[in-house]
C-alpha cells in the first residue's frame, strides 16, 4: 500500500516535471511564434548535456527566502554570477530528495577548480517540518556547504510559478500524522549568466554531473532571451 502510494507520488513528480517542461515549451512557442525556437525537449537538442535544455531560459528567482540561520536570502543577488543548482524538496522525503542531494554531495566532494564552488540550494517546501534547524541538520548530513532555504507557502509557490514549475501539494494527514508532499523533482541549473538554460530530471548520475558542471560554467549559450 505504502509502496503503491510512493510509486504514485514518484509518477506524479515525473509527470509534473514533464508537464513543467511542456509548459516552458508552450510559453516559448507562444512568445516566439517560431517552431525552431521551441523548448528543446528531445535528446538531440540537449547539446550533449545530461539534462533537458530549455528553449526559453529562466531568471533566478527573487522570492524572499530565509536561510537556515533565519536570515533573508535573495537567490538572485546572493548567487549572482555563480553556477547554482536549485531543487525543491522536503526533509522527510523518502526517495527523490535524499538521492538528489547524495548524488550532488558525492559529485562536489572530489571536484577541484571552479566547478567545486558550485552552489547547491535546497528549498524546503514542507514548511511545517522544514524548519531552519531541521534543514541545517538534514543538509549537514550531506554537505555543510549546501544552502537551505525556506519561506511561507505562498512565497514558495510564487517562486515555483516564476520557474514554470507546478505548485507544491501537501496531502491530508494520515492517522499516524504523516502526510505526503508532492513537489517538482527537477534540479534547475543557473549558469554564470544568471539564467537557467537547463533542468536535470531525477536519475542523473555523479559521472554525468562531473562531465556537465565544467561545461555549464563555460558554455556559450545562444541568446534566446527575448
Amino acid at each position: 500500500m505504502r509502496d503503491s502510494r510512493m510509486g504514485n507520488r514518484r509518477a506524479f513528480l515525473r509527470t509534473a516535471g514533464v508537464a513543467a517542461l511542456g509548459a516552458v515549451g508552450a510559453v516559448s512557442l507562444a512568445a516566439c511564434g517560431d517552431e525552431s525556437d521551441s523548448a528543446a525537449t528531445n535528446e538531440d537538442d540537449n547539446l550533449g548535456f545530461a539534462g533537458t535544455v530549455l528553449g526559453y531560459p529562466l531568471a533566478r528567482p527573487s522570492a524572499a527566502f530565509v536561510d537556515t540561520s533565519g536570515a533573508p536570502f535573495n537567490v538572485a543577488t546572493e548567487t549572482a554570477g555563480k553556477l547554482t543548482l536549485m531543487l525543491f524538496g522536503y526533509t522527510s522525503c523518502p526517495d527523490v530528495c535524499p538521492v538528489h542531494l547524495n548524488v550532488l554531495a558525492g559529485t562536489l566532494e572530489d571536484l577541484h577548480g571552479r566547478e567545486a564552488r558550485t552552489k547547491v540550494i535546497f528549498v524546503g517546501v514542507d514548511t511545517k517540518r522544514d524548519t531552519p534547524e531541521a534543514m541545517r541538520t538534514y543538509l549537514d548530513q550531506r554537505s555543510p556547504d549546501f544552502i537551505g532555504l525556506t519561506a511561507a507557502p505562498d512565497v514558495i509557490d510564487e517562486a515555483l510559478k516564476q520557474l514554470m514549475l507546478p505548485s507544491v501539494i501537501i496531502g491530508e494527514p494520515r492517522a499516524d500524522g504523516s502526510y505526503v508532499v508532492e513537489h517538482p523533482s527537477q534540479i534547475l541549473a543557473f549558469t554564470p549568466d544568471d539564467l537557467c538554460h537547463i533542468v536535470y530530471p531525477f536519475g542523473v548520475r555523479e559521472n554525468e554531473w562531473r562531465t556537465d558542471l565544467p561545461r555549464l560554467l563555460d558554455y556559450d549559450w545562444p541568446d534566446t532571451t527575448r
Binding site: R2, D3, M6, G7, R10, P94, D95, P98, V99, N102, V103, A105, G106, T107, D110, Q141, R142, F202, G203, R205, E206, N207, R210
Partner: protein, 278 residues
C-alpha cells in the same frame, strides 16, 4: 507476493515480503536431497549439518530481506549475498550432498567426461571467474536487476559459479576431489586472487558504478552510494577472502598432519569413486 527479488524502485520497508521462487527452490532441493538420502541415519552428522546450513544460507541469500536489499538498494547487501551463496552455501551443499548425487554423476561415461572437464582447474576457474565478472558488470547488472527474471538469472549465475569453483576440491561423495593437497591449496589461492579486479574497481572507482544502487531510495539516509560501494568491495575482499583462507588453512593443517594427499586416495588427476582406493 513476487517470484524473485528485483529492483522495483519502491521505497525500502522492513515489512516481510517473501519471494515464492526462493522458497520453492529451497523446498524442491530439500525434498530431492531427503529422497536421495541426504539425511539418512548412516550419513555422518557433520555432512547433514553442512547440508542443512548450506540450504538455509541459500534460502537466506535468495529471500527477503537480504535479497530485497541486495537487488534494490545496497550493493553491499548484494555482495553479502554473493559471499554467502558462492563462498559458503555452495561448498557446504557439495560437502553434505548425498552419495546418490556423486553416484549419479559417476554413472555414465558421458557424465564422467563432463565432470572431468568442468573440474579441470583451467576450465572451472576461468569460467567461474568470467561468470562472476559478467554478473558484476554494470552494463549487465543495471538492466537485469530491474526485472525478476533478470535478477533470477544473476543469482543462477552466482550459484553456477559457486559450484564450478568448489567442485574440483569438494565434489559430492563418494567421489574424491580432483585436486588435493598442495595442488588444491594453490587452486584455492587462485580462487582468492582471480576475482580481485572487481573489488579493486569497486574500491577505486571515483563514482558509484551501478546506476541502480546510486539512484535507489536510501535505506539509511546518510549511507550514500559511494560508501555502500566501498563497503561492498571490503566485504568481497575480507569476508570472501576469509572463507577461502580458512579453507586453505584447514587443508594446510590437515596436510601437515598427514591427513591430506598422503592420507586419502592417491591423486589421480581425475575424479574417481572413493571405493576404488578404499
Amino acid at each position: 507476493m513476487r517470484f524473485w527479488c528485483s529492483n522495483d524502485g519502491s521505497n525500502w520497508t522492513w515489512a516481510w515480503k517473501p519471494y515464492i521462487g526462493a522458497w520453492v527452490i529451497a523446498a524442491v532441493v530439500a525434498l530431492w536431497l531427503w529422497r536421495a538420502g541426504g539425511w539418512r541415519a548412516d550419513v555422518p552428522v557433520r555432512r547433514k549439518v553442512a547440508l542443512a546450513i548450506g540450504l538455509v544460507l541459500l534460502l537466506g541469500g535468495t529471500d527477503w530481506p537480504l535479497s530485497a536489499l541486495g537487488a534494490g538498494y545496497l550493493v553491499s547487501a548484494q555482495m553479502v549475498r554473493q559471499v554467502l551463496i558462492v563462498m559458503i552455501a555452495c561448498p557446504l551443499m557439495l560437502y553434505g550432498s548425498p552419495p546418490a548425487l556423486g553416484e549419479w554423476l559417476d554413472a555414465t561415461p558421458m557424465r564422467r567426461r563432463i565432470v572431468r572437464i568442468i573440474t579441470t582447474p583451467l576450465v572451472s576457474l576461468p569460467i567461474a571467474v568470467a561468470l562472476l565478472f559478467a554478473v558484476s558488470a554494470p552494463v549487465l547488472v543495471d538492466p537485469l536487476i530491474k526485472t525478476q527474471l533478470g535478477s533470477f538469472a544473476l543469482d543462477i549465475a552466482w550459484i553456477s559459479a559457486g559450484f564450478l569453483i568448489w567442485l574440483p576440491v569438494q565434489p559430492p561423495t563418494p567421489m574424491v576431489p580432483r585436486l588435493r593437497g598442495p595442488i588444491a591449496i594453490i587452486y584455492l589461492i587462485g580462487v582468492s586472487v582471480a576475482p580481485l579486479p572487481v573489488a579493486f574497481f569497486m574500491t577505486w572507482a571515483p563514482t558509484p558504478i551501478y546506476a541502480v544502487y546510486e539512484l535507489a531510495p536510501r535505506v539509511f539516509p546518510t549511507f550514500d552510494a559511494q560508501s555502500d560501494q566501498e563497503l561492498a568491495a571490503a566485504i568481497f575482499q575480507v569476508a570472501g577472502g576469509l572463507v577461502i583462507w580458512v579453507q586453505i588453512a584447514v587443508r594446510f593443517v590437515r596436510m601437515a598432519g598427514g591427513g591430506g594427499a598422503a592420507g586419502g586416495p592417491r591423486f589421480r588427476g581425475t575424479m574417481v569413486p572413493s571405493n576404488v582406493s578404499a
